[in-house]
């Protein structure tokens, strides 16, 4: 596929809202099989960065390259290779889990949307709850549906905003397993998280953000919380 990409480069990225600097001078590169963690306190610019990577916000300066193209050059083709799990989950509570999945499969123009949705429900462990309304689901169940929704079209770049919030241990473990499986499949995963214990050992690289600036990066996968303290302070 020539509209696919295997690397993601963030070059001198800045985004400001008037005087407020949400991000400035962010640079990093990653490739297939990487799990990147964006770590930092609230307001560090993690969500802004994810939204820029998702092409939903345009940068004030700098650029993001998906392979050798920017979002403006790639347009819908690049968007079609991105999957995002937002903090607000991106699900319609008035629809059933299956209807949500089928609808998004249709938006992505996938063939045989029913089978795709069924497979996703099975992976989410909700094969028997597929026809229940999402509004009746627990946070963990919603999260699993939302993750499968984001992965429906097997995106190359997977963006996750606080994926571990409100999950119990079992749900967390299954989420980690699913993310590892995607890593094996050659995805680029970028996640913003507060949960250092879970992220410890999962990330192939940690990027520390503070007040919109990149204050450190390392690819040592263990002892994250100690180094987080050092980097942020």
């Amino acid at each position: 596929m020539n509209n696919d990409f295997e690397t993601l480069s963030v070059v001198d990225l800045a985004r400001h809202y008037g005087r407020r600097k949400a991000l400035s001078q962010v640079n990093f590169t990653c490739g297939a099989g990487d799990i990147i963690g964006l770590l930092g306190p609230n307001g560090a610019g993690k969500s802004t960065l994810l939204n820029i990577l998702a092409t939903l916000i345009s940068p004030s300066r700098g650029r993001v390259e998906y392979g050798n193209r920017t979002a403006a050059e790639g347009g819908a083709e690049v968007r079609g290779r991105i999957g995002m799990l937002g903090h607000d989950l991106f699900l319609y509570p008035e629809l059933t889990a299956r209807e949500n999945l089928v609808f998004f499969a249709q938006l992505y123009g996938l063939p045989d949307v029913r089978a795709v949705a069924q497979a996703s429900l099975a992976r989410a462990g909700l094969a028997d709850r597929g026809d229940d309304l999402v509004s009746g689901f627990s946070r963990g169940m919603r999260q699993r549906v939302a993750l499968e929704r984001a992965l429906l079209h097997e995106p190359r770049l997977v963006l996750l905003d606080e994926p571990f919030t409100g999950l119990d241990q079992a749900s967390t473990a299954s989420l980690v397993a699913r993310l590892r499986e995607r890593q094996q499949a050659g995805c680029i995963l970028v996640m913003a998280t507060h949960d250092l214990d879970v992220a410890d050992g999962l990330l192939s690289r940690a990027i520390y953000l503070k007040n919109g600036r990149l204050v450190g990066t390392d690819s040592d996968s263990h002892g994250l919380s100690e180094r987080y303290r050092l980097a942020i302070q």
Binding site: H16, G18, S24, Q25, R213
Partner: protein
């Protein structure tokens, strides 16, 4: 451009200062009497009001599709001046209407169209003021729609009005506009250009300050 501003402002100040004498010396119009003199200010305001709409719309289109941030400065400057000159038009119009029709407001096609355009400018500025971050793009979209609407407002209001018989005879203005009118028009235009320039420059400098502020970390 910048060096021209003091000249334009000085010239228009002197000219506007002398305008009362010019207007006073203009021939006295017998039907309307003294009130006719308001026309010397009304006409230039109304024309510049329309010019402001055009500038705001075109600048917004350039900003939105051409991705030129500077164009937004011109758009907001034009919108504020549009509101200013629109208000002048709407105040001087009824002064004249009071004499001509005996009431402060009539749904005269031109007056009504001006009011609608004035509303669009106000809505645009409200959006810019209360729209929060990103309101520059939203405002540009709104301005584009506002500009495209001008001919429709004009046609629809005209036809809407002619459905009813005119209740009074609209006195036609003296066709001899004469020197004072063009004199006032020139003064107003210079004032308009100078204010537009200054206001846009303020926006541009604000943008530059922000750019510098943002670039502060690069050092």
């Amino acid at each position: 451009m910048t060096k021209l501003n003091p000249l334009l402002i000085g010239l228009s100040a002197v000219m506007l200062g002398a305008a009362p004498w010019m207007i006073d010396r203009a021939p006295y119009e017998s039907t309307m009497g003294l009130v006719q003199k308001v026309f010397y200010f009304h006409f230039p305001s109304a024309i510049l009001f329309l010019v402001a709409a055009l500038i705001c719309g075109v600048a917004s289109a350039i900003f939105l599709f051409g991705k030129r941030p500077r164009a937004d400065g011109w758009a907001i400057a034009a919108a504020e001046l549009g509101l200013l000159f629109g208000s002048l038009t709407l105040v001087t119009g009824p002064l004249w209407a009071r004499k001509a029709w005996g009431v402060w407001w009539v749904w005269d096609p031109r007056l009504t169209s001006s009011l609608l355009l004035w509303m669009i400018f106000s809505a645009y500025l409200l959006l810019r003021r209360y729209g929060g971050p990103g309101s520059d793009k939203l405002g540009a979209g709104m301005a584009l729609f506002g500009m495209a609407n001008v001919p429709f407002i004009y046609v629809s209001v005209n036809v809407w009005r002619t459905l009813h018989p005119q209740t009074s005879v609209v006195p036609t203005l003296p066709t001899d506009m004469g020197l004072p009118l063009w004199y006032c028009f020139a003064a107003f235009t210079m004032l308009f250009i100078a204010l537009l320039n200054l206001r846009a420059r303020l926006e541009h400098q604000r943008a530059r300050v922000e750019a510098l502020y943002l670039a502060e970390d690069e050092a």
